[in-house]
């Protein structure tokens, strides 16, 4: 212990004056900032002070190994461990000196002493101090070990190998870093632990490398350099293996890894498939919820290796699917510059998978600096035959074709005030004619807005407006299967009543008039049934109390049934699970699925804790098909209900 203190004292004597002086000056910063109208936290100043202390102490330690000066320690009866321990003790003493100098200076200079307490120090300060010390020691030791230049043996060949080795090293580092960045961005974007472990592992490795180099190299610079190099190479190899393994394991979970099925789950319009977003037993569930493709009848499940929220986008018949393949983000710019294809993929009804024909102006990646999980495309709508794609991206609408390449593009249109607007379609569907029927909100010159129904020719991008209706508030539009009728839900004041109207777009020559189905109803949801009828759920009328109700209307909009299904909040529509039988989630705070027979108005069955996901889908799974019969529980379990009276069959999770 005496020797440890002797070593520490040596370092403290060398550095204390400079560090204490600097800390005294730094302690004035909060007061100075306050005087200038700003605010600087004492904790931030302490962090800077600790950073400086760490760098100074580590640097002084490493510099002692330059030009054989380390014999001062090693030619004495001083074990390497004592030397390192002494220098570490000095670091702590210097940090304490800096902190108390800083706080004393701050106390004297500032009238605001709210931040003046020892708890201003956090774990971050300790990590910062240690990291700065370790990295500074490593670097200064490396510099000391190579201080007189790198000696190259072997002549020209060795000289030529230097850039090769450098390039290989950088390539290896970029590969590992790229994989790690991809892992974090996809699976741990909201969890700092992996990044902290990654960074601290390098700090720890550099500290171990320095300690081994000091103990094993002593005064021999070549050995010091070799020890450092070997430890860091070994650490790099370990990191590479761990990162590659983690990247593979975390980002490629199998169906057994599913722990909880997410509400973003729906049955495909092909009637067979369900797209299931799930929390898995790895990654941060706030960030990482991979999509699985489930064949409901057979139970076969496979993961769709897709970027988050970049698909799957499915055609009206469910035969064509588009998604962005989850290749590592970090390498995408390089990959594209090397002539690689887009990450967006199309799977056609035949099962072939091919690159999505992309708009020429659209890069299918964002800059790595975005550090974003999101791709460049808002949505893709494949035509039923799987040949044409409407792509909305960055306020553009483009049409591309698998057989004909890029067709057309709209990058702006004018509103009624003459202002240029980017493209932001509310709803869109392909017509049998091949045109795209869509809606857009148009701002009027007087400040109001209207909803325009438009048909767009993909070949020419020419736009024909079918009808434009005044429509205030927040709008939701739903087309029926053929896009010949539309349901418009308008909420002007949330919670204070909404209006639901039906618009028949089949008579293109006459300007269609909206038929108001309901108005001043609370929390309404509406959907077309497979036979053309309309179901509307609501929580009762404004002023009439909350009564859960489900109303049905004929295809033309005449009221048919008024089905009371309970008290409390508005029911949430589910899917039409069987022909004429609708799932509706009811209850006040807990889900209870009611199977409602829209023909008789009877509630056939109540299933507590369940709901029927995907009421919002434009192209739902046909009623009676397996994909229409999926149910999701509060606990995140996915079931199939093969018939209204059957037992539930658990689909996911498997374990």
């Amino acid at each position: 212990m005496t020797k440890v203190l002797a070593v520490a004292l040596l370092d403290v004597r060398r550095l204390s004056f400079g560090i204490a002086s600097g800390a005294l000056v730094a302690g004035l910063v909060p007061a100075l900032a306050s005087g200038l109208g700003g605010k600087v936290e004492i904790g931030a100043v302490a962090a800077v002070a600790f950073l400086v202390v760490g760098l100074a102490a580590g640097g002084a330690f490493g510099a002692d190994f330059a030009d054989g000066k380390s014999s001062f320690f090693f030619a004495r009866p001083l074990p390497a461990g004592v030397l390192i321990g002494g220098r570490f003790a000095a670091l702590l003493a210097l940090a304490a000196a800096a902190f108390f100098s800083l706080m004393a200076s701050s106390w004297i200079s500032s009238s605001d002493r709210s931040g003046w307490n020892p708890s201003v120090l956090t774990r971050f300060h300790a990590e910062l101090l240690l990291s700065a010390w370790a990295l500074s020691l490593f670097v200064s030791l490396a510099v000391a070990a190579r201080g007189r230049g790198v000696r190259v043996d072997g002549g020209t060949r060795a000289m030529l190998m230097i850039p090769v080795r450098l390039a290989l090293s950088m390539g290896a580092f970029l590969l590992v870093f790229g994989l790690f960045a991809d892992l974090v961005l996809r699976a741990y974007f909201q969890d700092s632990v992996p990044v902290r472990i990654f960074l601290l592992s390098w700090v720890a490795a550099s500290l171990v490398a320095s300690c081994l180099a000091i103990a094993g190299g002593r005064t021999e610079r070549g050995r010091i350099s070799r020890y450092q190099g070997r430890v860091m190479t070994a650490h790099f190899a370990l990191v590479a293996v761990v990162v590659a393994a983690a990247w593979t394991w975390v980002l490629h979970p199998g169906v057994q890894a599913i722990q909880r099925v997410n509400t973003w789950t729906w049955g495909s319009s092909d009637g067979r498939t369900a797209y299931v977003r799930a929390e898995v037993d790895r990654g941060d569930s706030r960030t990482f919820t991979p999509v699985f493709v489930l064949d409901v009848a057979s139970g076969q499940t496979r993961r769709l290796d897709a970027d988050a929220y970049q698909g799957p986008w499915v055609s009206a018949d469910g035969g064509t699917v588009v998604w962005s393949e989850a290749t590592p983000f970090f390498f995408r710019p390089l990959w594209r510059r090397l002539g690689g294809t887009t990450t967006y993929r199309v799977r056609t009804a035949s099962g072939d998978i091919a690159p999505l024909p992309m708009p020429g102006k659209l890069p299918d990646y964002r800059s790595v600096r975005d550090l974003s999980n999101f791709g460049a495309i808002d949505w893709v709508l494949p035509s039923p035959d799987g040949d044409v794609f409407a792509i909305q991206w960055n306020r553009h609408l483009s049409f591309t074709s698998r057989s004909r390449g890029e067709l057309s593009e709209i990058d702006e249109w004018k509103d009624r005030a003459g202002l240029s607007r980017g493209i932001n379609l509310q709803e869109a569907a392909f017509l049998p004619s091949g045109e795209l029927r869509a809606t857009r909100v148009v701002r009027d010159a007087g400040g109001g807005q209207s909803l325009a129904f438009i048909d767009i020719d993909p070949k020419t991008a020419s736009v024909k407006t079918l009808v434009s209706i005044p429509a205030d508030g927040s709008l939701r539009v739903q087309f029926d299967l053929k896009a010949t009728r539309a349901l418009v839900t308008s909420v002007t004041r949330p919670g204070r009543g909404a209006l639901i109207a039906l618009i028949d777009l089949s008579t293109a020559t006459d300007a269609p008039k909206p038929t108001v189905l309901l108005k001043d109803v609370l929390f309404p949801q509406a959907a077309f049934l497979a036979d053309g009828r309309i179901a509307v759920s609501n929580g009762g009328s404004v002023g009439a109390g909350q009564k859960q109700a489900l109303k049905t209307f004929s295809p033309a909009g005449q009221a048919l049934l008024d089905i009371p299904i309970g008290e409390g909040m508005a029911p949430r529509l589910g899917r039409e699970m069987f022909p004429g039988i609708l799932g509706a989630s009811t209850g006040t705070f807990t889900d209870e699925l009611s199977l409602v027979d829209c023909n008789s108005g009877a509630v056939l069955r109540r299933l507590p804790g369940l709901n029927s996901p995907g009421w919002f889908l434009r192209n739902p799974a046909p009623p009676g098909t397996p994909a229409a019969q999926i149910l999701l529980s509060r606990e995140g379990k996915l079931y199939e209900l093969p018939s209204p009276s059957a037992e539930l069959r658990l689909l996911l999770p498997r374990s």
Binding site: T2, K3, L5, A6, V7, L9, L10, R13, R14, D64, G68, K69, S70, S71, F72, F74, A75, R76, P77, L78, P79, V82, R151, D153, G216, R218, T219, E220, G222, R223
Partner: protein
């Protein structure tokens, strides 16, 4: 190993990358003797000295000090030894008294009074910064530190470097001789052949990284009928050093 050998060097080689600096050197230094290791610049003297103190690991071979491997047991063995490097290794940002205090903590045998007296004798102030000392003062300061622990083995790597002629003569005639009389084993490297001739019991000459000669000084002079300087010149002529 003879019982009287304080230092035994066994087939030691030192290599820096592909450069062989010390090649298969073996030697012994008897207790209480003065051994002078000579050689031209770059002959490997300093490397051998560092191996001898466990500061550097030989590429091959080993060094036994007090009968134990010095690389493995450096810290324990060096409690009985002291080292004077070619240039002072004391940190320049410290005061002389701080460095002395540090050494006092290192050695249980430390003689503080003797060190103070020696520093006063050579004119080194205890309050002076190490960096402010002249080259000669630093050499004498380093010597004083080495002697403060009353070492059984003293290793000096060209200790008279930077000393003027008078100080150099005093050093060899009095200082080293006195140590030898006290039974301290001394190993030194030097270019001062005249100075060492009178005090060394045995001399080793490194030439071309090998130990070309390892003999008793007096016997060598009798056998060859030449002075140490003549023998050294004859042996090392044409053998270029590294530097």
């Amino acid at each position: 190993m003879s019982d009287e050998a304080v230092v035994r060097v066994e087939n030691v080689s030192v290599r820096y990358n592909k450069q062989l600096v010390v090649d298969q050197v073996s030697l012994e230094v008897a207790r209480g003797s003065v051994y002078a290791l000579l050689g031209r610049n770059g002959a490997g003297k300093s490397s051998l000295m560092r191996c001898l103190l466990g500061l550097q690991k030989p590429t091959s071979g080993r060094v036994l000090v007090f009968g134990e491997d010095v690389w493995r047991h450096r810290a324990r063995l060096l409690a009985r030894a002291a080292y004077v490097p070619e240039t002072s290794d004391a940190p320049g940002q410290l005061r002389v008294r701080d460095v002395v205090a540090f050494h006092q903590s290192m050695y249980p045998t430390w003689d503080q009074a003797a060190v103070k007296a020696r520093l006063a004798r050579v004119g080194v102030s205890e309050t002076a910064m190490v960096s402010a000392l002249s080259k000669g003062q630093r050499a004498l300061f380093t010597l004083a530190l080495a002697l403060g622990s009353k070492p059984e083995l003293l290793v000096l790597d060209d200790p008279t470097l930077g000393l003027d002629v008078v100080a150099r003569n005093d050093f060899f005639s009095d200082f080293i001789g006195e140590l030898a009389d006290r039974g301290t084993t001394v190993i030194l490297t030097t270019h001062d052949l005249a100075g060492v001739e009178g005090i060394a019991d045995r001399v080793g000459i490194l030439q071309g990284s090998r130990l070309a000669l390892d003999e008793e000084v007096e016997q060598m002079k009798i056998d060859r009928g030449q002075s140490l300087e003549q023998i050294f010149t004859e042996l090392t002529r044409g053998a270029g050093g590294l530097s």
